[in-house]
């Protein structure tokens, strides 16, 4: 127990960095993922093909491989980062965007066909149908799965700790090495801080899910 209290500043620093990584990657992934989903349903074949290929490849790539590429392989190829946070954010947002894209796409598919037909019949263009009619409804229904993806993102950011970023898991490793006699409590502390983010988010997902279920 004492280990946690003694090293509280380290925990808080790691916690904030985990939060920072998750929020920044989450924003990038949401934007890029939505664009990918829009490309997937667009009339332009090349965009559809690109979006499909990207999602298929990234969804089947382990995150550790993505991190290894961003943090170990890229620097060897001449792309160096001032801070490894940048590599972590690239890996995390590239990885998460594929899952966001799939969630948004399934949301688009869940909007009743009549909505798009009605929009078309009053003369809206594809871009208007998508941005004014389909996406607002689609994004609504995908909020709960989206929150689940963001929870996974928070947990995934722990992989960054193994690639030179001092976030929660990175500090956990360091503290565990420094306090060989109190490893259990060190890791319990790390776990506590992860649960501090993931459990409320999971609760939020449940609440939103129930609300959406009633409204439809």
């Amino acid at each position: 127990m004492d280990v946690i209290i003694e090293n509280l500043p380290a925990y808080v620093d790691g916690f904030l960095r985990t939060l920072f990584l998750s929020v920044v990657s989450g924003i990038f992934a949401l934007i890029f993922g939505t664009l990918l989903a829009a490309a997937r349903v667009s009339p332009v074949a090349a965009l559809r093909g690109f979006s499909m290929t990207y999602v298929e490849i990234v969804r089947n790539t382990p995150l550790t491989i993505a991190f290894f590429f961003a943090a170990v392989v890229l620097p060897r190829l001449g792309v160096t980062f001032q801070q490894f946070e940048v590599a972590a954010i690239i890996a995390l947002s590239a990885y998460t965007s594929a899952f966001i894209a799939e969630a948004v796409r399934s949301g688009v598919n869940s909007v009743p066909v009549g909505q798009a037909e009605a929009a078309r019949s009053i003369g809206m263009k594809f871009s208007q149908v998508l941005s004014l009619i389909i996406l607002p409804q689609a994004l609504r229904t995908v909020v709960p799965p989206m929150i689940n993806i963001l929870i996974a993102l928070v947990k995934n950011s722990s992989v960054a700790g193994a690639f030179y970023v001092m976030e929660l898991f990175g500090y956990g490793r360091q503290l565990a090495n420094a306090n060989g006699d109190a490893v259990l409590w060190v890791l319990v502390g790390v776990a506590f801080f992860y649960l501090l983010i993931t459990v409320p988010l999971g609760y939020l997902a449940n609440v939103v899910e129930r609300k959406v279920a009633i409204s439809r």
């Binding site: 997937r40 349903v41 009339p43 332009v44 074949a45 090349a46 965009l47 690109f50 298929e56 490849i57 969804r59 089947n60 790539t61 382990p62 995150l63 550790t64 491989i65 290894f68 590429f69 170990v72 392989v73 060897r76 190829l77 001449g78 998460t96 899952f99 688009v108 598919n109 909007v111 066909v113 798009a116 037909e117 078309r120 594809f126 149908v129 998508l130 709960p144 799965p145 689940n148 993806i149 996974a152 993102l153 947990k155 995934n156 722990s158 992989v159 700790g161 193994a162 898991f169 956990g172 490793r173 565990a176 490893v183 890791l187 776990a191 992860y194 649960l195 993931t198 459990v199 899910e209």
Partner: protein, 277 residues
């Protein structure tokens, strides 16, 4: 669905779409070309860099890595599934003092990074890295399997259980012989999709020094020199993607086949298919 979003393209729209496609292909090709040119500048495509793959030992190491990856995934899956089944039954038990603690444990396991659990087992129980990897995967995935199966049972019509109880089956017998077979069959696509996640998560073994595919790549690059890092990494990543892609296809195939054969079609778990880690 996408066909409703826009009209059947006429000559003008087809032309615009074609132009868009050409521009798109050129843009993507340009990006790829830029990437390849940058790589070529680093001498990546020099034949001698790729000559490492003529050394049989390199393939032996890659083979060992694949073996280690698949072994960990297989052992973890075989243990996690029955455990998930038990956890699911406890989670939906009629007895509150079984149900509530199970729920807390499941919430805890689901909210935890897998790599942290591996690390915990590795350090606290001082096990080998193989045990740590398998234990981490089992703990996490059994919780997910439990949630998937629970979603399957809840997606069944209420009458299934009521009929089971009405003909005098005990609660457990109704679960075992009426609800679970249907639930598992309905959830098969989600369960297989979770297997892909499990397979992907074995690569976290890299972090706890389990000698799986990625760790072997690192070892080879350290041994052969940094020049060979990219070729070896490239091949390993391609192998990983190929394996996962095959299992993903299997899930899609089961779903297509199942929606024809399973009464009521397939249901989807809210937790499945998420990059859970």
């Amino acid at each position: 669905m996408s066909s409703v979003l826009y009209d059947v393209p006429g000559p003008k729209a087809r032309r615009v779409s074609l132009i868009g496609s050409v521009i798109g292909v050129i843009a993507i090709a340009g990006l790829l070309w830029f990437a390849v040119a940058t790589l070529a500048q680093q001498g990546i495509f020099e034949p001698e860099r790729w000559a490492v793959f003529q050394i049989p030992d390199v393939w032996v190491l890659i083979g060992n890595g694949i073996g280690a990856t698949l072994t960990a995934a297989a052992v973890a899956a075989v243990i996690a599934f029955p455990l998930g089944l038990v956890l699911c039954l406890m989670r939906i038990s009629d007895i509150a003092w079984v149900r509530i603690p199970t729920r807390i444990v499941l919430e805890f396991l689901r909210g935890m990074p897998v790599v942290l659990m591996m690390f915990f087992v590795l350090l606290v129980f001082a096990t080998g890295s193989f045990t740590a990897v398998v234990a981490g995967l089992v703990l996490y995935n059994s919780a997910i399997f439990a949630e998937i199966i629970r979603a399957g049972i809840q997606s069944l019509p209420k009458g299934q259980r009521e009929a089971g109880l009405a003909i005098g089956l005990t609660s457990f017998a109704s679960r075992r012989s009426i609800e679970l077979p249907q639930a598992i069959r309905r959830m098969l696509p989600s369960l297989v999709a979770q297997l892909v996640v499990l397979l992907k998560d074995t690569s976290l073994g890299y972090i706890v020094s389990y000698e799986e595919l990625l760790r072997k790549v690192q070892i080879m690059a350290d041994f052969l020199g940094p020049d060979y890092l990219f070729p070896v990494f490239f091949v390993a990543a391609a192998i990983y993607i190929a394996i996962n892609f095959s299992v993903s296809r299997l899930a899609i195939w089961i779903e297509k086949r199942g929606s024809r054969k399973t009464a009521g079609g397939m249901a989807h778990a809210p937790v499945a298919g998420i990059p859970a880690k």
